[in-house]
Subunit: 374 residues, 2 copies
C-alpha cells in the first residue's frame, strides 16, 4: 500500500496521512507546486525545496511538445533533467489538450490535436501517454482524461465519462504491461462527472472498481461557483475509499484548500501562488496584498511579518514594488517564492492541527484573520 | 588613504591592491557587477554575494527617476533598500542622461533633460547629483560628466572636457560641503578626452590636480575599434598616479578585462555578463557558448565543466536550452548567475597570478584556451 492514513477524527472529514513514493515520503495533506514545463516558474529546484515543498507537478502534454520525448529519454527522466530529487507527479495533460490545443478530436482510444506551439499534428492514445510518463519517470502518473468546462450539458458529461472511463482502463493496462519499468510509479484514477451528483457517483464506482493507487477529483474549479465546487468535491470525496489518497486537481486559493481539507482531500496542486505572484499578488496570514499598489511605496516591512521565507527575511514591500514598477525579474521571483512558501507552510500547519484534533478551530481562526475579520 | 597597492611588477603594468570602503575592503583587480535599478538583473543580492562579488554598481540617474529620492531617503539609503551590505559604487548617470534621456541641454552647471520613462522635465546640477548619491549612501560616488560617443570631433571633445572639468570641481566642492554626511564616501574623478591623446593628457592633469580618491577612465568602449580602446586606456592609465585606484568604466569582455589589467587597470564594471546571459550567451574557460543553439539539445554537461557555480553544480546545457526555448525565467537566471561567477572568478584568479608574478603567462594561456587555440 502506497498510502497510510495516520489520523482521522470520527466526526469530521479532515485526514492526515503519508504517501510512499519512489523518491521519498509525502506527508498529507500536501500542497504540490506546479512546474508545467519542468520548472516552477521563476524558481530553481533548490529554492522550491528550501520552501519545504515535498513533491512537485509537471505536465506530460507540455513536456511531450517541449523539450520532447527524445531529450527526456536521453536525460534519463525528469528528475535528472530538472535537478529535482524528490517525488514528481505528472499530469497527463488531458486538460491542456482540450483547453490549449486546436482542432482536437477524440478517436481510436486517444486524441488527435494540433500543437498550440507550432500547429504540428499529433495523435496520442491513452497508452502513449502512460508510456511517455514512464519515460519521464514520474512518481505519480495520471491517465488521459477529458475535463469539461462548466457548465456542461448532461449528455456531454455522460459522453465524456465514457471516454474517460475507457482511457482509465487502457491506462491501467498499459502501466501493467510496462511491468518493471513502471513498477515504482503510482497511477491515479480520475473521477469526472461535471456537476451531476449521480454521474460523479457512477464515475467513482467505475474508476474505483478498476482499482488505482489513488483517486483524483477532476473537473472542479473549471468555472463553476465556489459553493458548487465545494459541494461536488465533498460529494465525490465521500464516494472514495478511505484507505486511498485523494487528490483535488487544480485547487486553489488558501481558503479553498482549507475547505477541501475539511471535505476529506489530501493533495492539491495549483498555479495560483506562482501565477498570481508574477502579477504582484502576495498571500499572507493577513490576507492578500497587491504589492504593485501605491500604499506599499514607503512600506519597509517584509511581505508578511509572520513569514520567515527568504524573500521576507531579506526584502521589503517597498523594494518589491520598485522591482515590479521597473519590470525587474527579481520581483517576480520574490513574490513567487514567498507564495510557494506560504502555501506549503499553511498546509503543513493544517496537518499539525489535524493530528492535534483542532483543525476546525485553526481553520476558523485562519479565515477570520485572512479575511481581515481577525 | 583609501587605496593600497600590494603588488606591482617593475617591468609590467598589472597591479594588485586593496581599496578600503565604508562597507569593507575590495581586493583589486576587481570586477563589479552592474545593478542599474538596484538589482543585478534576474539575481538576488544573496546570489551575487555567493558568486564572490565584493562590490556592485548602481546608477544614480535611473534611481533618481525610479524609485526616486523620497523612497531611497526613507529607506535610509541603497544598502538597506536592496539588501546589499557590501560596498556599492554609484555611477552619476551622466552617460545615461546623454544616451537615454531626450532633449538634454547643458546649462547653469548642470543638465536639463526629459525622463526616458515618462517624458517629465528635470534639471540637475553636478551638486544635485552628489547630494543624491549621498542620500543613496554609496561607498564610491561618481561626478556628473559628459561622455561622447565615438567618433567625436576635436572641438566637441574640447567643449565636453571643459564641461566635465567644471562639473568635477563642483562635485568635489559639493562633497566637501556635505561634511560628515559624505565623509565615508569616496569620490572618483573621471578622465574623458575621446581618442585624442593630448586631450586625455590635459584632462588627466586637470582632474588629478583637483584631487580625488580614485580615477576613472571614461569615454572608452563607446564604439571605437578594440585596439584603439586599449591604446587610449593604456595611454590614460599611464598618466594617473600610481597610488590611486584606476577604474575603467563599462569594460568589458573577459579578454578586454585581462588586456586592461595589463594596462594598469584595477576596477571594471560591465553589463555584459548579465545582458548577454539573458540572451543565452555563457562565458566559459573554453570560450563563449550560445546555449540556445541546436548543438546543446542533448548536451547533458554543465555550462562549464571547470566551474563550480550554483548553475553548473545543478543544471545541464540541455535543460538551460529548454528553459530558453520555452521562455522560462530560470534560464535567464542560471546563465546570468554563471556569467557573474565566471567574471568574478576570472579576475580573482588574475589577481593571484599578479601577486605570484605570472599574470602575463596566465593571460596568454587563458586567451589560447578561450579562443579555442589552447
Amino acid at each position: 500500500m502506497s498510502f497510510k492514513l495516520i489520523y482521522k477524527n470520527k466526526n469530521t472529514k479532515e485526514r492526515a496521512g503519508v504517501l510512499k513514493t519512489a523518491h521519498g515520503d509525502v506527508l498529507t495533506p500536501c500542497f504540490v507546486p506546479v512546474g508545467t514545463l519542468a520548472t516552477i516558474k521563476t524558481l530553481s529546484s533548490e529554492e522550491v525545496k528550501a520552501c519545504g515543498a515535498a513533491m512537485i507537478m509537471t505536465n506530460a502534454y507540455h513536456l511531450y511538445l517541449r523539450p520532447g520525448r527524445d531529450i527526456l529519454e536521453k536525460s534519463k527522466g525528469l528528475h535528472n533533467f530538472m535537478s529535482w530529487d524528490g517525488p514528481i507527479m505528472t499530469d497527463s495533460g488531458g486538460y491542456q489538450i482540450f483547453s490549449l490545443a486546436a482542432l482536437k478530436k477524440i478517436k481510436n482510444g486517444g486524441v488527435e490535436f494540433t500543437s498550440h506551439i507550432d500547429g504540428s499534428k499529433h495523435f496520442l492514445t491513452a497508452e502513449d501517454i502512460i508510456e511517455f510518463q514512464s519515460i519521464l519517470g514520474s512518481d505519480i502518473m495520471m491517465p488521459l482524461d477529458e475535463c469539461l468546462h462548466y457548465p456542461a450539458s448532461r449528455s456531454d458529461a455522460e459522453d465524456s465519462l465514457r471516454t474517460t472511463f475507457d482511457w482509465a482502463k487502457r491506462s491501467k493496462a498499459a502501466k501493467m504491461k510496462n511491468g518493471r519499468q513502471s513498477a515504482h510509479q503510482l497511477l491515479f484514477g480520475i473521477i469526472q462527472g461535471s456537476t451531476y451528483r449521480d454521474l460523479r457517483k457512477c464515475a467513482a464506482e467505475e474508476i474505483v472498481g478498476v482499482g488505482f493507487d489513488g483517486y483524483a477529483i477532476g473537473g472542479v474549479a473549471v468555472g463553476e461557483p465556489q459553493d458548487l465546487m465545494h459541494e461536488i468535491t465533498e460529494h465525490t470525496a465521500d464516494l472514495l475509499p478511505e484507505d486511498k489518497i485523494r487528490y483535488l486537481m487544480g485547487v486553489g486559493t488558501p481558503l479553498d484548500m482549507l475547505g477541501a481539507i475539511s471535505e476529506g482531500i489530501d493533495l492539491f496542486d495549483c498555479v495560483v501562488p506562482t501565477r498570481n505572484g508574477r502579477n504582484g499578488q502576495a498571500f499572507t496570514w493577513d490576507g492578500e496584498l497587491q504589492l504593485r499598489n501605491a500604499p506599499f511605496k514607503y512600506d519597509f516591512r517584509p511581505i508578511d511579518e509572520r513569514c520567515d521565507c527568504h524573500a521576507c527575511s531579506n526584502y521589503t514591500r517597498a523594494y518589491i514594488r520598485h522591482l515590479f514598477n521597473t519590470e525587474e525579474i527579481l520581483g517576480l521571483r520574490l513574490v513567487s517564492l514567498h507564495n510557494i512558501y506560504f502555501y506549503v507552510k499553511l498546509i503543513e500547519i493544517s496537518r499539525k492541527a489535524i493530528i492535534e484534533n483542532r483543525f476546525q478551530k485553526f481553520r476558523e481562526e485562519f479565515e477570520g484573520r485572512y479575511n481581515n475579520r481577525g
